[in-house]
Amino acid sequence: MLSPVILVPAVLNGLMTGAVYALIALGLTLIYGVLHIINFAHGALLTAAMFAAFFAYTLLGIDPYLAAVFLTPLFFLFGYALQRFIIGPAAHGEDRNFLLVTLGLAIVIENTLLYAFRGDTRTINLPYAFDTIEVGTAFLAVPRVIAFVAVIAVAVALWAIMQWTDTGKAIRAVAKEKLGAELSGIDVAHIYAVTFGLGTACVAVAACLLIPTYYVNPTAGDAFVLIAFTIVVLGGMGSIVGALIGGLFVGVVESLSSVFLGESLGQIGIFVMFIAMLLVRPSGLFGERA
């Protein structure tokens, strides 16, 4: 059981799965780090993006990786608009209201999808979905390798945006000290909306990366988002590095525990770990105080 022939592929697969988890968590932690709210609509947005990617392939014949190119900006705008015109105004700046409003949005989005597309589970059939690359003793599925590389690329891109662009600097300013940023002339409502848009864009990319190997139905996003919540709490609310490392870690843990324990205990295990983290160290390993 402990032979490298089994362990190495398990770890590698865990890293690749973890990369996608990390991307979803990245969006969540970005929103938390700047707006200081937990976006309960994150899962629903992921589901919506997955449906979009699904239909891009089945109706328009566009390969998911290509679809990411136009879905990402589209969902960025969608997220921007949601925060700017619905969430922000409705919440009147109170934390409790943000919770309820994002919850309400999640209900609306998921059930609109349910109403429009019914509850059936669908998958796409990409011709190269089952191709593999040989790495040592492991056979790694091509879509998952692409996903891993893509996540690294997105993380680097985000980092570059944060470091070098004016908007990125404004985002960091608002995250650190909202009042000061406001007084320096930064349009906080706009920055909040940009951040929410970036977080939504992250799930759009993640959706395109997931679609080749995963199914889609109106509640598909929820399972991932719970894992994303766990990662965000583990890695620290607001920490991008924490989300990445946490994501990879959780991916590997999940992979190894399904080798040793089987699938069924997996879900409860994640929840229990999540609860334990919240109770013991809500600020996570890298993050700010709760």
Binding site: I37, I86, A90, L100, L105, E110, L114, I268, L279, V280
Partner: protein, 326 residues
């Protein structure tokens, strides 16, 4: 005793309904509305009055439901006793979750997250555990006798649901007018200031959570008797966590009749939607989501809040002005 008059009036009015109509459709609708109102009364105590927003009240609803169902089905316990034990079990679960969460100082979004997680753990456990019938669910045997808490017609169920709601209204009203209630609201408004005034914030939150869980558990027990079938998605599913918070928010968080008003409004909306769209799944929930966002954005004090804008201060429940007469 004047303070309890509005409750007596409301209960009396509702009690008259079965004498005015024999329609099962109407009674069924009202029973469901009362059920949601009861679950919402529980949520409202912790969330509306106490300011701690639970997103996992299903944990208590489901516990009440399963405990009473399993006691009847597997151990032959009387259904009425099952109700009592179910409520106690719900209270215990509430106390446990509350103790863990509040000891760790969880508040705001973190508290909401952890309650959500606890409810999900219970749901998944119930969906695989043999004692709950796992995927198949639990079926309570049909036994149409009052002693078994089952009735031939809807009316007795209706009156019992009404009685439970009435009892919860009395409990909440009593809390409103007590020191515990004053402390609870202070904790909601500003925990640090409350501490500096001698309020044991942990105990107050824990107490509120325990009573809140007990009330919602009662709703779960009633559900089990009314529908006679449970599975994990019904007992611990997000639907009840959402309904339990939606009713008070829409009706007026932190106000006595908030959950009742809210439950009637959302159930009416739900039924109206179903009539218009012919029952395709999801649309009624879409409406619920829109209503939630709209209420938070436009009428944060809910419908009762809007109404109280028109009532003179004297008659507003829970106001300090009416204490001097109460």
């Amino acid at each position: 005793m004047k303070a309890y008059l509005p409750i007596a009036v409301a209960v009396a009015l509702f009690a008259a309904v079965p004498f005015l109509t024999a329609s099962n459709v109407v009674l069924n609708f009202l029973v469901m509305a009362l059920l949601i109102a009861l679950a919402g009364q529980g949520w409202n105590l912790l969330g509306g009055y106490g300011g701690q927003y639970s997103f996992g009240h299903a944990a208590f609803f489901g516990t009440g439901a399963y405990v009473t169902a399993i006691l009847q089905v597997r151990y032959g316990v009387n259904a009425w006793l099952g109700l009592v034990i179910g409520v106690a079990a719900g209270a215990l679960v509430g106390a446990a979750i509350g103790a863990l969460s509040f000891r760790s100082g969880l508040k705001g979004s973190y508290f909401s997250l952890v309650t959500l997680a606890f409810a999900e753990v219970l749901r998944i456990t119930a969906s695989v555990a043999p004692i709950t019938g796992a995927g198949v669910g639990t079926l309570i045997k049909l036994d149409l006798r009052p002693e078994a808490f089952q009735f031939q017609s809807r009316a007795p169920f209706y009156w019992i649901a009404l009685g439970l709601v009435g009892a919860s209204l009395i409990v909440v009203r009593a809390i409103e007018r007590s020191r515990f209630g004053a402390y609870l609201v202070a904790v909601r408004e500003n925990e640090n200031a409350a501490k500096a005034l001698g309020v044991d914030v942990f105990m107050v939150k824990l107490g509120a959570m325990t009573i809140s869980a007990a009330i919602t558990a009662a709703a779960g027990c009633f559900y089990a008797q009314y529908f006679l079938f449970l599975d994990a998605a019904i007992a611990y599913g997000p639907w009840i966590s959402i309904d339990a918070l939606l009713a008070p928010i829409v009706g007026g968080a932190g106000m006595l009749f908030g959950p009742l008003i809210g439950a009637l409004v959302i159930k009416t909306l739900g039924e109206a939607t179903k009539l218009v769209t012919g029952g395709a799944p999801g649309l009624d929930l879409v409406i619920y989501g829109v209503v939630l966002v709209a209420v938070v954005g436009l009428a944060p004090r809910g419908i009762a809040g809007l109404l109280s804008g028109w009532t003179p201060r004297q008659f507003r429940p829970g106001s300090s002005a009416d204490q001097n007469h109460g």
